[in-house]
């Protein structure tokens, strides 16, 4: 695992407390450039706090963190040039239309040809027809796609996705997964926080488990599997999962493509 590129994200000895509550108790973490890294943890484990510190929205009490080679505390402006924040709390503007949201971000980032950038992204994320409608009328999946589209403007090297699929239906979830995979294929580093284990299993190159403010496990899925006793071979008849049934009935396959095999239950 000797890559020439320095890690896209490096966190060392990070600590943060809110009054008496210790949220981060010395977090160390490296995220390889161009990878999808999943930060797992239950609610309150400190995932959001880490993302907020990396996004320069919050200052740590102790320790250092750098993104794309820039220190979040002393080189905040360069860090902001390198990142985009999406998901749970980085909202889209509901009163504006989808297109206006994209144009606004393009203008703020001073990208050339903001209108063209907006139209291209609407097309890429299947929102061209909805582009002139106010975001308040969008479904959860459309809103999340717009959110991710907004963070691609200016081509940041690192994207933080804070619980990108929370509250989405299974189809929208698959759409978002596909987008994340495409991003990573294009060379963008993705730091994903999630409480869904299957999401990490499906997408992530590296996985860390954050528990009570510290990283307790860190590695690839294969490495994590070795932490458990070796798998035993047992004969079990495999029943389709409810997700497979749902997707087969609504007529979409695992990759979110519509197929024509919708059936009615007998």
């Amino acid at each position: 695992m000797n890559t020439a590129k320095p890690p896209a994200i490096r966190i060392q000895g990070l600590r943060k407390s809110y009054k008496d509550l210790q949220v981060l108790k010395g977090v160390d973490l490296d995220v390889a450039s161009g990878s999808i890294f999943a930060l797992l943890g239950s609610n309150g484990a400190g995932k959001t706090t880490i993302v907020r510190i990396l996004a320069t929205l919050l200052k740590s009490d102790e320790g250092t963190a750098s993104v794309n080679g820039y220190d979040v505390a002393t080189e905040a402006a360069q860090v902001r040039e390198s990142i985009s924040l999406t998901g749970q709390f980085a909202a889209v503007d509901e009163i504006l239309t989808g297109r206006e949201n994209l144009v606004m971000i393009a203008r703020l980032r001073r990208v050339e040809g903001p209108k063209q950038v907006a139209d291209d992204l609407l097309e890429r994320f299947g929102l061209t027809d909805a582009g002139a409608r106010r975001v308040a009328t969008y479904s959860g999946g459309m809103r999340r796609r717009l959110d991710i589209a907004m963070s691609l403007i200016g081509e940041p090297a690192v994207i933080f996705l804070d619980e990108p699929t929370t509250g989405l239906d299974p189809e929208a979830r698959l759409e978002v997964w596909q987008v994340i995979q495409d991003l990573s294929d294009g060379g963008t580093t993705v730091l994903l926080t999630t409480q869904y284990l299957d999401e990490a299993e499906k997408l992530a190159d590296g996985i860390a488990i954050l528990h009570e403010g510290a990283i307790i496990v860190n590695g690839t899925l294969a490495q994590l599997r070795q932490l458990l006793p070796p798998a035993k071979a047992e004969y079990v008849e495999r029943q389709p999962t409810l997700e497979e049934i749902f997707l087969s009935i609504v007529g979409k396959d695992k990759n979110g493509k519509t197929t024509a095999n919708a059936k009615e239950a007998p």
């Binding site: 320069t56 924040l85 709390f89 980085a90 909202a91 009163i95 703020l108």
Partner: protein, 253 residues
């Protein structure tokens, strides 16, 4: 302010103005309510009010404008509160843009939208018989005082919007401000009030501002009132701005 900051602030102003023009209730509350109040006072109460020799609508106009501004800034507080709650500020603050731009976008929107409602109310006033012989200089002075008053109240609204814990709380601070013109020289001369009320009315900011605007519009000498009015506006502006910056820094690490 760098060109970068100006460009960012321009984008933020455009966004926030769209929020104003796309919410019908804002426009109704900010312009229709003061106009309704003006109709009520001129055509219902006005006949029974002894406010001096001129037309009552002329006497009333400055106070109505101040009430319109006081209710207008409540929406500034609400919009700022909503931005903080919904997390769009987090998105802006994690972007490579000037951090003050988001705040100034709201402040300038407050200024622009309040000036629009002031112009609409004056135009309706003209239909109702409001007249002024004031020249361009006096009108500019009136505009200047209204701009200062709006900015002073807007920064109070910024404090309220950033520190509120509910949408109602974000706009509740404006009720006492909307009420102040009633206990001032805005609707009736203060010398008809009982002594303690008159003392309060004479020494609160609205009376001096109303008297100054009224004198400017009627081409009367403004006397000391203009200095008292300016001192109030500038004083409130400086204190509110400083406090707003403290709250803002605490909110945005």
């Amino acid at each position: 302010m760098s060109a970068h900051t100006l460009s960012n602030t321009g984008v933020m102003l455009g966004r926030s103005m769209r929020h104003v023009t796309r919410s019908v209730d804002t426009i109704i509350t900010v312009t229709i309510t003061p106009i309704a109040m003006m109709l009520l006072f001129v055509y219902v109460f006005g006949g029974a009010i002894e406010a001096g020799p001129g037309d009552y609508v002329d006497y009333l106009m400055p106070g109505i404008l101040l009430i319109a501004i006081a209710s207008g800034i409540a929406y500034t507080a609400y919009r700022l509160y909503a931005d903080l709650q919904r997390g769009i500020f987090d998105r802006f603050n994690s972007m490579p843009i000037s951090r003050s731009a988001a705040l100034w976008g709201h402040v300038l929107t407050s200024l622009v939208s309040n000036m629009i409602s002031v112009v609409v109310i004056v135009l309706v006033g003209l239909l109702m018989g409001f007249r002024s012989s004031a020249g361009i200089g006096a009108w500019l002075a009136v505009a200047g005082i209204l701009v200062l008053f709006t900015l002073a109240l807007t920064w109070i609204a910024v404090i309220a919007g950033m520190s509120a814990s509910s949408p109602d709380g974000a706009s509740a601070f404006s009720y006492p401000i909307i009420f102040l013109p009633f206990i001032s020289s805005a609707f009736v001369p203060t010398d008809t009030m009982p002594a303690p009320v008159e003392a309060f009315a004479e020494n609160q900011p609205v009376t001096s501002i109303v008297n100054t605007i009224r004198a400017l519009l009627a081409q009367q000498p403004v006397g000391d009132d203009i200095w008292v009015a300016l001192a109030w506006c500038v004083g409130i502006l400086i204190v509110a701005y400083a406090l707003a910056m403290v709250v803002y820094r605490r909110k945005v690490a």
